[in-house]
Amino acid sequence: MSIKNEEFRPKIVAFCCNWCSYAGADLAGSSRLAYPADVKIIRVPCSCRVNPMFILRAFEKGADGVILCGCHPGDCHYSTGNYYARRRMTLLFSMLDYIGVENGRTRVEWVSAAEGVKFSQTMNEFVEKIRSLGENVRLGDLRCKN
Amino acid sequence: MSHANNQAEKIKAISGVNPLKCMKCGKCSATCPAFNEMDIKPHQFVSYVQNGDIEALANSKSLWKCLSCFACVERCPRDVQPGRLIDAARQIVVRTKGQTGLAPEEIPELLDSEVPQQLLVSAFRRYRR
């Protein structure tokens, strides 16, 4: 276990679609728009590739927050992927809320390739939110903690 | 922040208007029924706020000539809403004078049946906050 008085540094997984949000994250990078290092990005082809299993898996392994970024509705590279992702995530988040997981540990944001600023802002906000929520104890699997 | 800047910020905050959105088309002035009565024209009003010259606005005749008909608000293609800026400037002036508003009980005696409905409505808009 980490030492108690250390500042809480959350583990945050960000799934980004290859065409919009990953490029948006790249733009945030090339524009030097900082956000905390707690965010680690996983590249997926489309937001619709993200299985609820992946999100629960991240929590199981000790993630404190999971964010999914995709193209804006209507702009999906595959034309409809994010619409499916939107329904899936809405239902999943609602279920997590229903079983008592704090609201705000999960988030979906639509970030285009041109929205480096939005990407950075979103990540800053999300990290802030997760820090305020503290460590994820309700979904984690104790065996997976260091 | 200087006093003038501060005042300009206040006007923006009260009106919720961003004068930077103005593209200087002048449709507000084109549409204004009180245009000829005004010393600072509606479109100039926007740039005065943008430039922070609130002093001039506070002392202008225009401030009290605006009918608050909101034709400029309605027609502005950029959603700048000069009428709201003027309204906000009035608020600032009124507040500085320590007149925070009209008490409801004062209203009936001020009413005149000859007063047009629109004036009443705009008066309420102006003073009810």
Binding site: P52, M95, G100, G140 | -
Partner: protein
């Protein structure tokens, strides 16, 4: 029941069907079990009464592979499951001869036992022909009674209606037994604080022994191989060790059947630990109805399911936090 047996014999004899899928008496007076009957002789064991809660539609997946038609007895709510399976190409309509059987609400023996009725030797009032509102039990402690309605399964209190949505013929009268709000329980949980919600599900789910009865009985959970048995998600063969495991299992199970679950309530009926598993499915159904429009899985075999569909102006996921 006699009418049913007579008709089944007839259809077997004239070769319309090769077998009958129904129920036979179990070792106790209240636990009939699903069974195949291939001739008139075997049909002597056929029973159909208030304890025949099992949804036989899922058996039709295997029966569809057999030679000839299978006569299957489906209650009104079971026909929704059959339709859903039909939509997913899991059953063959041509291989099924559906007899829509009457239903006046099915009984929950656990409920009966909770009334203190134990050591049951025989039951009266559970037959389809009985019109009594009271069940009478001959027990080793003497005669006991209870109200039929009170002993019903939870799902019968929120009955979807007495109409069969797919059938070849109907035998017997049905009754709409709805006397409760379908989403009342879900709403009660929704109104709780996050801490209370968490405590509630922690308490319920910690009873889970991962026996997979819910999964095996569920007509929607009909995958040849479940993701939880598959190597493809690195989630296979996990023992139920900690609190997260069963949450993950039940959330994902509910998610996989979301938009496909007909709310038949079999999961809750068979859970040996008495976990109200339908609360997961029903939450999804409630959300789907509220966000994407009323949808009843299995109402027909054509309409696109809500998770394989979308509209351009669906709610954003942030609605969950803002509700």
């Amino acid at each position: 029941m006699q009418e049913l047996i007579t008709r089944a014999k007839e259809l077997l004899e004239n070769g319309t069907v090769a077998r009958v899928l129904g129920w036979k008496a179990g070792d106790l007076p209240y636990n009939p079990e699903p069974a195949y009957f291939t001739n008139a002789e075997e049909l002597k064991d056929f029973v159909y009464n208030g304890f025949c809660g099992a949804n036989l539609s899922k058996y039709m997946i295997e029966a569809s592979k057999l030679e000839g038609k299978t006569l299957v007895c489906l209650k009104p709510c079971d026909t929704y499951s059959f339709n859903q399976l039909l939509k997913e190409h899991r059953v063959d309509r041509e291989k099924a001869y559906i007899v829509g059987v009457g239903c006046k609400g099915k009984l929950n023996i656990e409920k009966v036992k909770s009334f203190g009725i134990k050591g049951i030797e025989s039951v009266f009032g559970a037959e389809m022909t009985d019109n009594a509102d009271t069940l009478t039990f001959q027990t080793i402690y003497g005669e006991k009674t209870c109200s039929y309605a009170e002993a019903m399964l939870e799902r019968c209190h929120v009955c979807k209606g007495k109409e069969h949505v797919i059938y070849d013929e109907l035998i017997g009268e049905s009754k709409d037994t709805k006397d409760a709000e379908r989403f009342a329980e879900v709403e009660k949980i929704e109104a709780m604080s996050p801490e209370e919600k968490f405590a509630f599900f922690q308490k319920e789910l910690s009873k889970c022994i991962r026996c997979n009865a819910c999964r095996n009985v569920c007509p929607a959970c009909s995958c040849r191989k479940c993701v939880f048995d598959s190597t493809k998600f690195d989630s296979a063969q996990k023992a139920n060790v900690d609190s997260f495991e069963e949450k993950m299992f039940h959330i994902i199970r509910a998610f996989h059947v979301a938009g496909r679950c007909t709310d038949c309530g079999e999961c809750s009926r068979v859970c040996p630990q008495g976990i109200p598993l339908h609360l997961f499915n029903r939450k999804f159904i409630k959300d789907i109805n509220e966000l994407y429009g009323e949808f009843q899985a299995g109402a027909d075999a054509e309409t696109k399911g809500p998770l394989t569909n979308f509209t351009f102006d669906d709610a954003e996921p942030s609605i969950v936090a803002n509700r």
